[in-house]
């Protein structure tokens, strides 16, 4: 469904991605882990051209997303993206955040869009918060609204860019529950996260990235529990002992 072929990306003279290849099949959940600055976020941002790449190809359903034939706005409707900082629109209510795409892109009427929006909010357990402004919601609730906003566009893939990193520890769980439900429902997902418990539970495969390359990949049990790459073991120790894994 998504294929990276020797993807290169530079920020100025800094190489953020160095020949990354990999494939995400339909219904699979891949979890990207690695130290900050290792290129995890950059990699998923290339899928919807939030970051342009300088070498290699990114294919969605076997079509090169850089090709002129691709309508990037169509593609973005099919690929949901959840940000670390939620990026809710602060001037719109929770439901308004969700209906914006539905009315502007799906041509839905107001009533129909609201109904659909409420259904999505119910899915993330926030139906009763529909008319509250993002400023009135907790971090966890905001992130769930952001997930509902993406889901409303009926995406075939969901990309999560450290969705719990900005949250207070007690709110991480509520967001992970929603993500686990999505995974269980068969959604194709790429998640950048430090939540190793989540990775162990739902990931089909973990990619360990460092310095713009995938150093190691494998099933969570193989990678976390057995002795993987020494760098990976070192990383896992800092993640579990650091105490500030949610920051």
């Amino acid at each position: 469904m998504i294929r990276f072929e020797n993807v290169d990306k530079w920020f100025g003279t800094m190489q953020a991605l160095a020949g990354v290849s990999g494939e995400v099949g339909r219904g699979e959940v891949k979890v990207l882990v690695g130290p900050s600055g290792s290129g995890k976020s950059t990699l998923i941002r290339t899928v919807t051209r939030l970051e342009a790449i300088q070498g290699g190809r990114v294919l969605v359903d076997d079509i090169d997303i850089a090709s002129r034939k691709v309508d990037i706005n169509r593609l973005r409707q099919r690929v949901g993206f959840v940000f670390q900082a939620y990026n809710l629109f602060p001037h719109l209510s929770a439901i308004g955040n969700i209906t914006l795409g539905l009315t502007k892109l799906r041509g839905m009427g107001k009533a129909e869009a609201r109904e659909r929006g409420l259904a999505e909010l119910a899915r993330v357990g926030l139906a009763e918060k529909a008319d509250e402004m993002p400023g009135q919601l907790s971090g966890g609730q905001r992130q769930r609204v952001a997930i509902a906003r993406s889901l409303a566009m009926d995406p075939q893939v969901m990309l999560f860019d450290e969705p719990t990193s900005a949250l207070d520890p007690e709110m991480v769980g509520e967001v992970l529950v929603v993500m686990k439900q999505l995974a269980a429902a068969g959604m194709t997902m790429i998640c950048v996260t430090h939540e190793m418990g989540f990775a162990r539970e739902v990931a089909d495969e973990i990619w360990f990235m460092e310095r713009g390359a995938v150093l190691e990949r494998g099933k969570p049990t193989d990678l976390i529990d057995s002795l993987g790459h020494p760098r990976l073991q070192g990383f896992l120790r800092t993640v579990s002992h650091g105490g500030d894994i949610h920051r």
Binding site: T48, L50, N73, R74, L75, R76, Q77, G80, F81, F83, A85, N87, L88, F89, P90, H91, L100, G101, K104, L105, G135, A146, R149, S150, M153
Partner: protein, 236 residues
Amino acid sequence: MLEILENNWLLFLVGQYPHGPIGGLAMTLFMAVIALALCFPFAIALALARLSPYRWLRLPATAIVHTVRGLPLIMFIFWTYFVSPLVIGRAVGGVETLVIALVVYEAAYLSEIIRAGIEGLPKGQVEAARSLGLRYWPTTIKVVLPQALHNMLPSMVSQFVSTIKETSLGYVISAHELTFAASQVNNVLLTQPFEVYGILALTYFALCFALSSLARLIERRISSGRGGAPGVIVAA
């Protein structure tokens, strides 16, 4: 001073109306409001063009803004005064001239305020909108501008204050506004310029101070309302 005010308050307020053209404070406010309202669409267009990835849009808009901001308003007023009759093909009154000059002049300044408001938004706002699949215009109209304009409301009120003060330059082309009314009163009384222009000064000050206070109030509300992103007050 009170006596002058007592005898001439109507002239200060509305000029010679109803026996002549409306003027005074009423015309000053009218011109400031109209000029700002008319320049608003131009200001937004200039701001968007300045932020455009396309050079052919960005460069001319940047040139216009820098040119206008580098020239004194009085020069613009004279220029409009002499050129607009040639363009329009008939005599153009003082009020119209001043409004035209102000629209051009204020558009340049307001566009910089709007541009700052747009650039001040978190980058994630546009990314989130584009990630939903929204194109440039829906993103701009539904996500970017409502937030940018809201955050920039205090600066826009400050700009309104400047505009009010700038309308006093209309005096030199005989636009019937507040300063013009004061000079008419002065011409009648002849011996009390200090008092007459004192009244003029107090009137401008009361109006502008009230509006600046309003701007500060709005600014406080905005920064407390959404938890952060305080607006920037442009000195008036």
